[in-house]
Subunit: 493 residues, 2 copies
């Protein structure tokens, strides 16, 4: 869930200087309307990695907004008054009233995360903690609270750099303590626990917004933008007759950098190398898949990607390695009438392989958060809850010894155009291109945003995405085969 917050997002100072004043003005207006309406409270959680700008963000919000209706709660070590009550008591005590905005610097997440990293809680205790939190937040949302949860992230490398920079400057040296370096040693555990926590608590009603903390300008504008959108959406909603509560809207990175457009699409493989490499990996894969049965494992591979990115070709290179009795390829198109009369995931559950078998999905359950989102085939609430449902679904697969691999085949917009044109001119390829492909292409940006959100919200340690640079078909096919082999080998170890 942290991948796109490790891309090195930045905004230059001039852009920031231009964007800040109107944003501040809009935020103040929105805050005034919230206070005026007195219909709902706003809670802003500020959490995340040390040194990623949590404190600065809290200061910024206090500066940007009217302090009469904004209360900041620095939730540090509990007082004895607080320790002698149930842990949630201090948060209940600090809840903002309707019309007000409460900023929680340190929140109900601090204790479970730190407690788990330090080993005070075992996995079961963490789980129970998280369920209390999920119930609590669901209650808040049901009571009309607008809950905006920010997680500020720094990659390990950047956190180290940040600590060193602070130490070097005599003016900020005091900010770096031994405890900070001690905590840094546990970065990996902290990251793993945080991922677990965010996965469980990023619900349809109250999703997390993960923000890269390196660059102050970027960080500040993102926070402002997300908050403003959330406030404006909720204020609009007040005048609607139907009071369906919507989650704060997702927001694309304002510096246009994302996990797709930072891929290196120049990677390629010579045809001469390809053939041998292909044979090598197909052989390896064959041997590995043979072992599934006795190891009581199944394999599910998901192929998603742009139109003409080479999903079909990659799948054929995989099936080329397999005995026809072992695998099935499921091509996912529009749902049948039978499938439409069932909950969304039903059509995929039917195809889950038994142990020893392989199912390859040519497009998949991710259609819900891609085509169905972009084309408005389902309401926003449906695709927002799909992220959580999919995480839960994949977790069940993995827990039941299914090896899961998920591929996004990525090509550039130019490469797609080239391939479309080629398909239209080469006669035996003409069936592969339809008007729909052109229509989808016209919505490239919306799809790109949907893909990035999908990866952010469904890439987990146990069910990771593999992004495949697919401008070069040979390179892409080999990367797919290689990833499958490595994933199986890692599981069998």
């Amino acid at each position: 869930m942290f991948e796109s917050a490790e891309l090195g997002h930045t905004i230059d100072k001039a852009t920031y200087a231009a964007a800040e004043p109107p944003l501040r003005a809009d935020l103040l207006d929105a805050q005034f309307d919230v206070a005026e309406a007195k219909q709902f409270a706003v809670i802003i959680l500020v959490s995340g990695v040390e040194g990623a700008g949590k404190g600065e963000t809290v200061n910024l919000l206090s500066k940007w907004m009217d302090p009469r209706h904004l209360i900041v709660h620095g939730m540090g070590v509990p007082s004895d008054e607080e320790r002698e009550r149930p842990p949630m008591w201090r948060f209940w005590r600090a809840l903002p009233a309707q019309g007000r905005i409460g900023v929680f610097f340190g929140s109900w997440y601090s204790d479970p995360i730190v407690g788990r990293v330090q080993g005070d809680y075992d996995a079961a205790a963490l789980e129970q903690h998280l369920q209390t939190i999920v119930h609590f937040e669901r209650m808040l949302v049901a009571e009309g609270v607008l809950l905006v949860k920010f997680w500020f992230h720094l990659s390990k490398k950047r956190q180290k750099k940040r600590l060193k920079a602070l130490e070097k400057d005599p003016n900020t040296r005091w900010r770096v303590t031994k405890a900070d370096w001690k905590r840094f040693k546990h970065y990996d555990e902290f990251r793993a626990v945080s991922e677990r926590v965010l996965r469980t608590t990023s619900t349809a009603e109250a999703p997390w917004f993960v923000i890269e903390g390196t660059d102050e300008c970027y960080r500040s504008l993102m926070v402002g933008r997300i908050l403003l959108n959330a406030l404006q959406q909720r204020l609009q909603q007040l005048s609607h007759t139907e009071k369906r509560i919507l989650a704060p809207p997702l927001v694309a990175p304002i510096d246009q950098r994302n996990i797709l457009n930072t891929l290196d699409l120049c990677q390629s493989l010579q045809k001469s190398d390809y053939k041998d490499t292909l044979e090598h990996y197909q052989g390896r894969l064959n041997l590995l898949v043979r072992q599934l049965s006795e190891r009581q494992r199944a394999l599910v591979a998901v192929f998603e990607g742009w139109d003409a990115a080479g999903k079909g070709g990659s799948i054929r290179r995989v099936t080329g390695a397999l005995d026809a009795r072992w695998y099935r390829v499921i091509s996912v198109g529009a749902p049948s009438e039978e499938e439409q009369a069932q909950p969304y995931l039903w059509r995929f559950w039917r195809h889950i392989p038994r142990w020893g078998r392989v199912t390859l999905f040519d497009r998949s359950w991710y259609g819900r958060v891609l085509v169905e989102r972009v084309e408005h085939f389902c309401p926003e609430a449906a695709w927002m809850r799909a992220y959580g449902e999919i995480r839960e679904f994949e977790q069940q697969l993995v827990q039941h010894r299914v090896v899961l691999a998920k591929f996004w085949l990525h090509i550039s917009k130019d490469e797609q155009l080239k391939r479309f044109q080629e398909r239209e001119t080469v006669r035996f390829k003409r069936f592969k291109i339809t008007e729909e492909d052109w229509r989808n292409r016209a919505k490239w940006d919306e799809y790109e945003q949907a893909v990035c959100d999908m990866i952010d919200r469904t890439h987990t340690d146990r069910a990771p995405w593999t992004l495949v640079e697919a401008n070069n078909k040979y390179y892409a096919r080999i990367k797919v085969l290689q990833t499958l082999c490595q994933t199986l080998e890692a599981t069998f170890d």
Copy 2:
């Protein structure tokens, strides 16, 4: 959660014979409308204690309804096809399509409960299982499925009786196996695990209906009535523009027996005995409360009951035993403006005592499911979710070393009348009676139903209700004091 299913509910055969034909006709009509509309699927779960009529109920539903749109799934031991897929696969496979009714005899609950009783799962594994179930059911409801969950219950005594009766009759002897008796030995564990499971999974969207299984006529009519109400409500909802999904409506026991009207209100205490007993318990309570501080415990006592049932008098007898510095009495009336601008439970969280202290609530958070429900001060969805929120809230208290005692002071309707009239005639008591009291009294039956639902849905092992027979004030006060002493002693042990 099983208390009102141990009252010995029965319906005589004549009543049954009169009620069954119209019920069947209505059920068939409703089923036809569901099939016609093809807008939502219906899932009926049949779970519970062995011998409580699960099989008979399934047969009955098959008989009553049109088998073309009703599919029964007997979910026994999984096949190897099923074992080699994630546990939920078999249920996904069996989901009814929109317009159809699926009856699950044995369900996603069987495995976690049996597994926990047999020790295959530890507490953490059970918890995780339950969360998967909660997510699954939430998804079903969000997808429009009408989910009706029946739990058939038998008290330990009755289960034993039932097994013996079956064994005695040569025609049914084959039905009782050694395995049944072996399972009976684990009745108490089974009950405890089931309670835990029902508590966690009785959500606002998909509440459990616990039905006493002893009497076939009662059981069958209850099932029919609950199912019919649920179907009719959902069918009506289809024509509404606003598609808020409602939970199946709660239904009062059709034999009019309930946990209140089966109390023995003749219990009494002579005034001559009262004084000494009072002194005894007040002394004991004083010593116990003194220990709270060093034991790092707090005490919260909740007093609910009919108007004029003697809540104030009982509270005074408790505070009479305490040092004024130790306790606070919180009288709960209509919420203040400040409280109205907060989530419902906020006004109670503020008063949670620190260790060493006592808070006595004269009326409490249960107002949400009593007066607010009956007087329609809040929407149904709000009080339905309150059951779960209250269980969660009380669990947090108990986990944080708060000793929790909850009293319902019960008097008969006649006794209330007598007390009201006395209050009106005796001058110094006149302030105690208002028009509102008379208005509440006019809604006695609705309040009674609300009280029974409250006890059914919030009486748990860790936060039990004490029902106090309060027609005799002396008896009631002593029972309250005695219960407080015993609860503290049990906790301190």
